[in-house]
Symmetry: C2
Subunit: 165 residues, 2 copies
DNA sequence: TTGGAATGTCAACAAAGCTGACTTATTGTG
DNA sequence: CACAATAAGTCAGCTTTGTTGACATTCCAA
């Protein structure tokens, strides 16, 4: 029972244990996105809008190019999302002061309100999962996730972490 | 041991810490899917094909309905994927012996070959992440993921785990 | 002043999800 | 047996979110 989560020696990690980790990742990610998805479905928005809102909130004043790099999509794809958010008054795009080719992105009050709703839902689930799993599990969780990232994403993740705290 | 004094420290989980967990989950999932995605992109397949192949391999002889429940998509969506896999000779659909309305799904040799390529890539990354994070991190990782799943997905995940080992 | 960078836009397309309506077998039940 | 329910599959049409490619605009910097 105590070892049912693959805590056995790493030297003997079987394909079966790895596959369980893979499936856990798949099912957990669905839970991870389920709550925001439900909220977004009531509006004309999807996950792409959520991601844009999340990272604009995370780094207010970020440029479009920076957002493109974090999200890893094409500018056409992001632009479509950004355009609707700006039209709907959730995001504001200000011409850069230093470099006026750039656009600095900010959430409006309405944008912040939606961001709060979405991240509240996601944090609530995360908090519950952390509570269920226990404090020692949390650091392990974070360590494995970080080790699973692509190098470039790890860099961006670290940069966000530093800026946030 | 995990629960002795852990409850207290969890009370101090800040929104910032939770957000870091959320972002870690987002960036890690991208890494998690990156390797299979690269392989699939060289063929005319996508993630949906990968998921079908994965779970057919996991539970050979599974029915379409069962697969639908695991994947949580509509039959129209799954059917499109399944049809191409059958046409391409990666999946075999046999009429059920007990109930001839059912179709039992199996990977062909070619299907198994692709499954191996895909899961090898994914397992390699998972193994490396486990190694980097250390053995204690792994059980924590698994515990948090499981706690993050929807109830129904947790049930299906557990059922797969039992059948696999 | 000119090249390149940052941004934005148009058009066309694809993957993968969705709803709704329907058919065809087959099975279980009244 | 008759009929309702179930499993699977199909057609049509729609949405979201990603992709290429081509091109215009604006503006900084050499």
């Amino acid at each position: 029972m105590a070892d049912s989560h693959g805590g056995e020696s790493l030297l003997y990690l079987t394909d079966e244990q790895l596959r369980q980790g893979i499936e856990a990742m798949y099912f957990a990610y669905r839970g991870f996105t389920a709550d925001p998805d439900r909220i977004l479905a009531t509006m004309a928005y999807g996950r792409a809008h959520h991601r844009a809102i999340h990272f604009i909130n995370r780094a207010p004043g970020t440029t479009v190019t920076n957002l493109l790099e974090i999200l890893g999509v094409t500018k056409q794809s992001l632009n479509r999302v950004l355009r609707t958010l700006i039209e709907d008054g959730l995001v504001e795009s200000r011409v850069g002061s230093a470099d006026r080719r750039e656009r600095n992105l900010y959430l409006t009050e309405a944008g912040e309100a939606l961001e709060n709703r979405l991240s509240d839902a996601q944090r609530t689930r995360m908090r519950a999962a952390y509570r269920d799993a226990g404090p020692e599990a949390v650091s392990g969780f974070r360590r494995v996730l970080e080790a699973m990232m692509d190098k470039e994403m790890k860099r961006r993740y670290a940069a966000l972490r530093e800026s946030g705290q």
